[in-house]
């Protein structure tokens, strides 16, 4: 017996969980897509009448679905549910493996459930998305540098505009709640992890899975409809539209999953003593954002399912000839599309409101007004969607009510301005890049907000709709305000996420290049928009040349600034100064944990006895 036990035991083979990673995911996804593509080609019957796309649409969509299922299987997303169905849930060791315990850098390429890993994964994919979207923006601006265009083929140009639009919207949706909502938020509320760690990993890997159909689309006709993909135009667009549809469907699932997870985590897992009055304002912003996404993205998902059915199954949801309506799509799209603006904006502004007390060394001015502002924006944002449809001819009698709700949203937005200005007022300013970002946000958001009031006004919108003015306006809000907040959040939380300080000099250089370039670019775009230049055009009348040239020069300046920032991220991460535990002397819980952060964040879960803004009262 003793002899038997002392015999060397052969090393057990790796379990399925240990074998799965991004390589197996890509391989399984590609093989699945190829097999289904071949089978569909072989067995799908020809269409009974002469129709364009229907059979090809079926083949393309089936192949993309196969990719999706194969990829998610290959990354390990189905292991947990499968084991649960079989009545044998994961063991403690397996859960520790999934959490990335002692896994080193490999954990970033697996279905890892640790919220900190997911946060870093989100940060990297957000940067990749902005990199691709930024390159597409530079191609657009280069082509528009001269009136006659023609540098890029008009069809490729259309596709580039559509892809730039949707990829940047997705990038901005996840830019705060993805990296910081996942990495920082659980620690900030005193939790060991998210409420549903596996769903957390799922939400991230769904985005990776979604990326391939979007890339695929570029090689089968592109996305020629602009990011909104209006029907019936989208129903008649090339096969690439199927890539858009799959991308949105998968991304919508990701957003729903993340929304449910983050909301549950915030509501259920705050530390002892962290009452709603003591909950940091960033948490409110994050929760408002994902809570808005919860009802919005299922609608977006369904709008695309119906779009796919119109293309591949010959239904007529949006086809007027078959009894459908293009207005149906417009309504479904904007029921998602306008709350989505605030899904982007609110967490970015909330992040800056979180930083304002830190860098002014005084309490957040009127915390309750900040909360009311966030709640007010959230509530009103679901009641404004049809201002995108004033001149579409749909329900003209509703124009006035939608104008009212849209203009009302200025009030809670003004509350957030008041909170930021009030916090800065007579504060002892610590001039960092995040501090300057607060000023930049106030400037940019003021321009974006005021120009938006004209667009909310029915008579003015009749003139401005579909012009470059609209493009400049929403860049001022989403980029000028949203991205500014996200970049400040990156510099602010960089020490906690990486254990290194962000290079101060590079953060300043980048800040000024981006902000100056941004204002040059989009003031120029406002001028040509007001002069009547339509958006989404590949060439334009020479009278608009000066404004477009200025915009292109501004865009190049932004590119330089963003590349400096990229270098700052890489170099600081690799060899920046080691960060102390609390370099900003801030009072929220994430700064109470050491660098590097332990797997479960806290040895003992904290108890909160006051709010996070106890910096004393400045004389004001």
């Amino acid at each position: 017996m003793t002899t038997l036990m002392s015999k060397p035991v052969s090393a057990p083979g790796k379990s399925v969980i240990e074998r799965l990673n991004i390589v197996t995911a890509v391989v399984l996804g590609a093989v699945s897509a190829f097999v289904v593509w071949r089978l569909a080609l072989q067995f799908l019957p020809a269409d009974t009448e002469v129709r364009l796309f229907t059979r090809e649409d079926k083949i393309t969509l089936l192949s993309m679905v196969a990719w999706f299922i194969g990829f998610m299987t290959g990354i390990g997303a189905l292991v947990g549910p499968f084991r649960w169905v079989m009545g044998k849930d994961l063991s403690h060791d397996e859960n520790m493996f999934l959490a990335g315990k002692d896994m080193g850098v490999n954990r970033y390429f697996r279905y890892t459930t640790d919220h900190k890993v997911v946060g870093i994964q989100y940060l990297v994919i957000t940067m990749v998305i902005f990199g691709i979207g930024g390159i597409l923006a530079m191609l657009i601006r280069t082509n528009l540098g001269t009136p006659e265009g023609g540098w890029i083929h008009p069809q490729a140009y259309n596709s580039i505009v559509g892809t730039h639009g949707i990829i940047m919207i997705v990038g901005t949706i996840i830019m705060v709640t993805g990296p910081f909502g996942n990495f920082i938020m659980p620690i900030m509320i005193g939790a060991r992890d998210m409420a549903f760690p596996r769903l957390n990993a799922l939400s991230f890997w769904l985005i990776v899975a979604a990326a391939i159909p979007l890339i695929w689309a570029q090689f089968i006709g592109g996305i020629s409809t602009g990011w909104s993909a209006y029907n019936p135009l989208a129903g008649q667009a090339p096969l690439g539209m199927n890539g858009y549809i799959m991308f949105i469907c998968i991304f919508a699932i990701s957003t729903m999953v993340a929304g449910a997870n983050i909301t549950t985590t915030i509501v259920r897992m705050r530390a002892n003593g962290m009452t709603w009055n003591r909950t940091p304002i960033f948490i409110y912003g994050t929760m408002a954002s994902v809570a808005l996404a919860l009802p919005a993205f299922p609608v977006f998902f369904l709008s695309q399912v119906m779009s796919a059915m119109d293309r591949a199954l010959d239904t007529s949801f949006y086809n007027t000839a078959g009894g459908g309506s293009g207005w149906l799509y417009e309504n479904l799209f904007w029921i998602m599309g306008h709350p989505e603006v605030y899904v982007i904006l609110i967490p970015a502004v909330a992040a800056l409101m979180e930083m304002a007390p830190v860098f002014t060394r005084r309490p957040l001015f009127s915390f309750n007004v900040a909360v009311m502002g966030i709640a007010g924006i959230s509530g009103l944002s679901v009641l404004v969607w049809a201002h995108h449809m004033y001149i579409s001819g749909w329900a003209p009698l509703l124009n006035a009510p939608f104008m009212l709700t849209t203009e009302l949203i200025s009030i809670p937005t003004g509350m957030l301005f008041l909170v930021l200005v009030g916090t800065l007022w007579r504060g002892r300013l610590w001039m960092t890049m995040p501090t300057m970002s607060i000023f930049a946000l106030l400037w940019n958001f003021m321009i974006g907000g005021i120009t938006g009031i004209y667009l909310s006004d029915v008579p003015a919108d009749a003139f401005l709709h579909g012009s470059m003015y609209v493009t400049a306006h929403f860049h001022y809000t989403l980029m000028g305000a949203g991205l500014t907040g996200a970049l400040a959040a990156l510099v602010y939380w960089f020490p906690k996420m990486t254990g290194r300080m962000f290079d101060k000099k590079l953060s300043w250089i980048s800040f000024w290049l981006v902000q100056i370039g941004f204002n040059v670019a989009f003031i120029g775009m406002f001028t040509v928009g007001l002069a009547g230049q339509p958006r989404r055009v590949e060439s334009y009348a020479s009278t608009f040349n000066t404004g477009n040239l200025i915009t292109t020069i501004g865009a190049y300046t932004i590119m330089v600034g963003m590349l400096v920032l990229l270098h700052g991220v890489i170099s600081s991460w690799r060899s920046g100064d080691k960060a102390p535990m609390n370099p900003w002397q801030a009072k929220t819980l994430e700064w109470t944990v050491p660098n590097p952060i332990p797997l479960e964040n806290f040895d003992v879960l904290p108890t909160v006895t006051s709010d996070a803004y106890g910096y004393g009262k400045a004389k004001s």
């Binding site: 129709r51 364009l52 796309f53 390159i135 530079m138 191609l139 280069t142 009136p147 006659e148 023609g150 540098w151 890029i152 083929h153 008009p154 069809q155 490729a156 580039i160 135009l233 008649q236 667009a237 090339p238 290079d503 000099k505 590079l506 250089i509 060439s539 334009y540 009348a541 020479s542 009278t543 590119m559 330089v560 590349l563 400096v564 990229l566 270098h567 700052g568 890489i570 170099s571």
Partner: protein, 260 residues
Amino acid sequence: MNKRILAALGTVILGAGVTAGIGTYVAAAKNDSGSIMATSAGSFTAPDGKTYPHYTLTMNTYPNSTFGGHHGEDGGAHPDWVSYGAAGPYGEPLRDAKTGTNFVVPAHSAVTITIWQYDSGETLNNDFFAKVRGTVGGTATLVERYDTKSHTNATEAKTITQIPHDAVGHTFTIHGVSSDQDSLFVNVPLLLANDDEVTAAEEEGGFTQFPSMTTFTFITGDEGEYIWNCEFPCGDGTVARFGNAMSAMSYMSGHFTVKG
């Protein structure tokens, strides 16, 4: 210079290089056919007595792209799409031509274009485009059946100002965007070829022996960049049949440049 700043500069240069590389690739991939220069043909005296330098262009419209030309030997990416293409002096397909739908003509000149229509047709959406507009005298010369084997008119040539809207195969329509350049608008409807002959020829892998032939002349102004396209909805399937070949450069549309 500070080492960190130098490294950042390197990232900027690298990033700009990547962007430029992708842009160059995308720009090169547009596969835009080159331009056909109008051929000099002496001088032209307009009805008002003014004399202009005279130039000519010849082109064909085909029911598909298998003629090759600027689409390539096998008809390119969409061999079944209708297309314009460069033509020889008697309407013969120029199968090796590298250029197809972009044209360059001199400023302040008379330009005579001859188009052989090898495709059949249906009904226009808009009767406006069934009328000849912007040509010298507001007319064009139509030969309903041109024999491409004997290089002779099989039917008599006649002067037209319009054709029936349900007998249009394609149109050749030049127009510009609103700008400070000279306005130029020319529209000429092209009579459809016999449908049965077109179909029979297609089944044999060729084109009808008897296309219609339309000739017209117009006067150019100052330099300008214009586009031309067909206004007959022949791009089956998409956007009220204005998609596919109708919305793709080098099929049923192209650039029309007037140079000094």
